[in-house]
C-alpha cells in the first residue's frame, strides 16, 4: 500500500523536470562515518586522533580537514564527523575507540546513519535555499561545512572546493523526504541524477 | 439607554445622534474599596460581578491602554468547556453556562455562537485521548459527542478526510455547545454594564507599583497618581508576573507570544470551530467572513506583542493540510498577544500571599472562554476573602502541594502547554 519511499529518481540516473541540468544530484556513498568527540584543549587527545586517523581535527568552527582518504568535519566544539567514501583509516572501530577513550575522548560509529548526496549545477544555491544558510560563496567559504535545516530536517553541508558542488548529509530516515523536496524545487531548473559515487 | 431593536429604530429616526456614552471616562478618585488592575474581559467582569453579586460598587478598573486592548481584543474567540480534569471541567462549564445568558445579562450582544467545537483525531492514540476526555465530560454532565470520520466529512465537507492525508482524520470529539463569541463585545459589554452599576473605568492609567503596608495592600501607584484601596485584584493576562513582582511575589508563570491571523473575508464556508492537536491548529469563520486561525506559541519569553514568521508558516501549513481548498484564500492580517504561560497550563485564580491581593491569570492559550466564570469567582474571592469551591483548586500554593492541574501532562515547562 505505502508508496515506495524512494521518490522518483533516487539512484536511477536520468533527467527530471524541465530540460537542462540546473542541478545535478548523485548519491555520495558513505563507506564509513565516525563521530569523534573530545576536548580540544587536551593535546594528547588531538595527537591521538591525528595518529589514529591521519588527519588533524580542525579546531576552527565549521571547517573541514581533508586527506586523500577521509574528510574531518567540525560539527561542534568537541565533536567531529569523519567521513570516508572508500578505503580509509576508519577500520578497527573497537580498538580505536579504546585508544580515544584512554585519552578522555570518545568515538561513535555513525556509518549507517547518514545518507549523502553531491549537489551541484548552476542552480544549486537556489535549490538549497530552502535552508536558511547563505550558500553564496561569500557566505559559505570553500573548505567549510555547516549544519542547519532543510525544510524541517536537520542537514549538514560541506563545500569542499570553490565550485558549485556541495555534499549534503541527512539522517537516513529522512532521506526520502529530503530527496522529494530536492526534486520538487529542482524540477523547474531541470534535475540531472547521475550514478552514485563514493563520498569525496 | 437599554439596547434593543426598538431603541435602534428610535435612534434611527434621530440619525443616531442621541446615543449615550457606552461608559463614562471619569477621573480616578483617590480611594476605592477595590481596585482591579487590567481592563480586559477578566478585570471588567470581576468589577461587574463585584457590583452585581456583592453590592461592592466603589470599584475602579485601571487599564494602562485602551480597554479590551490586551488579549481580550486579540484572541481567536473560542469558547468551550471540553476539559478532562475535574477542576477544569467544572470551572469552564460554569463559564459556558454564564456565556449562554451573557448577552441578556449585559444587555449587549456578545454574539455567543454555539456552533460546536470539534477536536480532530488523527491516530488511534488521539482517539483514545479524545474519548477519555469526552467520557469524563459526559460523566461531569457536559455535552460531548464522538464523531466518526464519515460524520465529520458530512458536517465539514472541505476538510481533507482522505486516508492519504499526512495526518489522516480518524474521528473527532464534538462539543456542540462550544463555539465563539465576539471578543471586543465582551469587553465593551462588561464595561458598559459595570459602568452602569457605578464602577469607574479608568483608561490610560498604568499601575507602576503596589503599596504594601504591614503585609497588606494599601493601594497602587499609577501613571495618574496613587490610588488607595484595601483590596486589589490583578487581571492583567500576560503581565501577571510584573504586577505580582510589584508586591514582591514571584509567580509560576512566563510570558510568551501567541499569534493569530485572519484570511480575507469570504462567504460562509465553515460553521464549526475545528481544532487539531496533532498539527497544533484551530480555525473558525467570523461573522464578517474571515477565517480566524491560530496555533502554537513563538517559543521564547516575550512581552513584544508581536511574533515572527515561522509560526505563521506553520499555522497555515496545518490549515492547508486539513483544508486544501483554502489554499487560494489570503492572509489579511497577523498579530500577536502576550500570554501568561503557567507551569501546569492552568490558571491561578485566588488570593496571593499579601493581604488584600488577589489575581486571576495564567490563562495560557485559552482564558477568553473563562472570562465570565473567572470574573464571577474572582469577585467572590475578593468579596468573601476566600475562594469559592470552584476556584479553590486554582490556588497558587498547588505547586508546592504537588496538586497541579496539568491537563496535557506536559510538566513544568510553560511553553509546552
Amino acid at each position: 500500500m505505502a508508496e515506495h519511499p524512494h521518490a522518483a529518481g533516487w539512484k536511477q540516473p536520468g533527467k527530471y523536470g524541465a530540460t537542462g541540468s540546473g542541478i545535478v544530484l548523485a548519491e555520495a556513498t558513505i563507506a564509513n562515518a565516525w563521530n569523534v568527540q573530545g576536548n580540544v584543549t587536551r593535546p594528547e587527545f588531538i595527537a591521538r586522533a591525528r595518529e589514529l586517523f591521519g588527519v588533524s581535527l580542525p579546531v576552527a568552527p565549521n571547517t573541514v580537514a581533508m586527506t586523500d582518504a577521509l574528510s574531518a568535519l567540525w560539527i561542534g566544539p568537541r565533536s567531529w564527523l569523519l567521513v570516508a567514501g572508500g578505503e580509509s583509516p576508519l577500520v578497527n572501530f573497537g580498538a580505536k575507540r579504546d585508544a580515544l577513550n584512554a585519552v578522555g575522548g570518545a568515538l561513535f560509529d555513525l556509518g549507517a546513519s547518514r545518507v549523502a548526496w553531491t549537489v551541484s549545477g548552476p542552480h544549486v544555491a537556489t535549490v538549497l535555499a530552502k535552508c536558511p544558510l547563505d550558500f553564496h560563496v561569500r557566505g559559505f567559504a570553500p573548505g567549510t561545512c555547516a549544519q542547519s535545516l532543510f525544510g524541517h530536517v536537520n542537514a549538514l553541508w560541506v563545500r569542499p572546493q570553490e565550485d558549485d558542488a556541495f555534499q549534503m548529509l541527512v539522517a537516513r530516515s529522512f532521506a526520502c523526504d529530503v530527496w522529494y523536496a530536492l526534486m520538487e524545487s529542482g524540477a523547474q531548473y531541470g534535475v540531472e541524477v547521475t550514478l552514485p559515487a563514493p563520498y569525496r | 439607554m437599554k439596547y434593543s431593536i426598538f431603541s435602534l429604530a428610535r435612534n434611527a429616526l434621530s440619525y443616531h445622534e442621541r446615543w449615550p456614552l457606552a461608559w463614562r471616562s471619569p477621573r480616578a478618585k483617590s480611594r476605592y474599596d477595590v481596585v482591579i488592575v487590567g481592563g480586559g474581559g477578566h478585570g471588567l467582569a470581576t468589577a461587574y460581578y463585584l457590583a452585581k453579586e456583592h453590592g461592592i460598587s466603589n470599584v475602579a478598573v485601571l487599564e494602562k491602554g485602551y480597554l479590551g486592548g490586551g488579549n481580550t481584543g486579540r484572541n481567536t474567540t473560542i469558547v468551550r468547556s471540553n476539559y478532562h480534569l475535574d477542576p477544569n471541567a467544572h470551572f469552564y462549564e460554569m463559564s459556558l453556562k454564564l456565556w449562554e445568558g451573557l448577552s441578556r445579562d449585559l444587555n449587549f450582544n456578545v454574539m455567543y455562537s454555539a456552533r460546536g467545537v470539534l477536536n480532530l483525531c488523527h491516530s488511534p492514540a488521539d482517539i483514545d485521548a479524545a474519548m477519555r476526555r469526552g467520557n469524563a465530560m459526559r460523566l461531569n454532565g457536559i455535552d460531548a459527542q464522538f464523531l466518526s470520520r464519515d460524520d465529520i466529512a458530512r458536517r465539514i465537507p472541505n476538510l481533507d478526510c482522505s486516508p492519504q492525508a499526512r495526518f489522516p482524520i480518524q474521528g473527532g470529539l464534538l462539543q456542540p455547545r462550544g463555539g465563539t463569541a465576539r471578543h471586543d463585545a465582551v469587553a465593551w459589554g462588561y464595561a458598559r454594564a459595570a459602568d452602569a452599576r457605578g464602577v469607574d473605568i479608568i483608561q490610560q492609567c498604568e499601575v507602576t507599583g503596589i503599596r504594601v503596608d504591614n503585609g497588606a495592600v494599601a493601594g497602587v501607584e499609577t501613571t495618574q497618581g496613587f490610588i488607595a484601596a484595601g483590596k486589589i485584584g490583578l487581571a492583567v493576562a500576560g503581565h501577571s508576573s510584573r504586577l505580582a513582582a510589584m508586591a514582591g511575589i514571584r509567580l509560576p508563570i512566563e510570558s510568551h507570544t501567541l499569534q493569530a491571523l485572519v484570511s480575507d473575508p469570504v462567504k460562509p464556508v465553515l460553521d464549526t470551530v475545528v481544532t487539531s492537536g496533532a498539527v497544533h491548529f484551530y480555525i473558525s469563520q467570523s461573522d464578517k467572513g474571515e477565517l480566524v486561525m491560530g496555533g502554537d506559541l513563538d517559543f521564547c519569553n516575550s512581552y513584544a506583542q508581536r511574533g515572527n514568521l515561522p509560526m505563521i508558516e506553520h499555522v497555515i501549513a496545518a490549515c492547508l493540510a486539513l483544508f486544501p481548498s483554502f489554499g487560494r484564500l489570503k492572509v489579511m492580517r497577523t498579530w500577536g498577544g502576550v500570554c501568561d504561560m503557567s507551569m501546569d497550563g492552568s490558571p491561578i485564580i485566588g488570593l496571593l500571599p499579601v493581604k488584600g491581593l488577589s489575581m486571576t491569570g495564567g490563562w495560557c492559550y485559552g482564558g477568553f472562554k473563562a472570562t465570565p466564570a473567572s470574573g464571577w469567582l474572582h469577585a467572590y474571592t475578593i468579596a468573601r476573602g476566600e475562594p469559592h469551591h470552584l476556584n479553590a483548586a486554582f490556588a497558587l500554593d498547588r505547586f508546592e502541594r504537588g496538586e497541579v492541574i496539568d491537563e496535557k501532562g506536559a510538566g513544568p515547562t510553560p511553553w509546552a502547554h
Binding site: N39, V40, T41, R42, P61, N62, I75, G76, P77, R78, S79, G104, P132, A146, Q147, S148, L149, N154 | H239, S241, R242, A245, R250, L251, P252, I253, E254, S255, F299, C300, N301, S302, Y303, A304, N308, L309, P310, M343, F399, E400, P412, T413, P414, W415
Partner: protein
Amino acid sequence: MLLIPCPWCGARAQIEFTYGGDATLQRPAVDATETDWVQYVFLRDNPAGAHQELWQHSAGCRQWLRVSRDTRTHEILESAPAVEASPGDAR
C-alpha cells in the same frame, strides 16, 4: 525571525535553535529544602527587558548558549556558551 549569534557558528536563524528558558536559575544543592526546589522548578522572574535565557543550537553545533535578549523588543544583547568549561576540564 530572530538572528541568534552562536559563538561558534555565527549568526543563525532562530529556527535552528531550541529554547531552554531562564538561564539564571541555579540548580539547588542536592540536599536543599523542598521549598528551594519548588522555587527552582516552578517560579520565574519573567522580566520585561533583558532576559538571560538558554538556547540550544540544536540544528547546528548542538551547543547550549546563554543569550541575553530584551523581551520587549526581541533585540539580542549578548550571546555566550552556556559554560566556558569543557568536560573533564575541572580535573
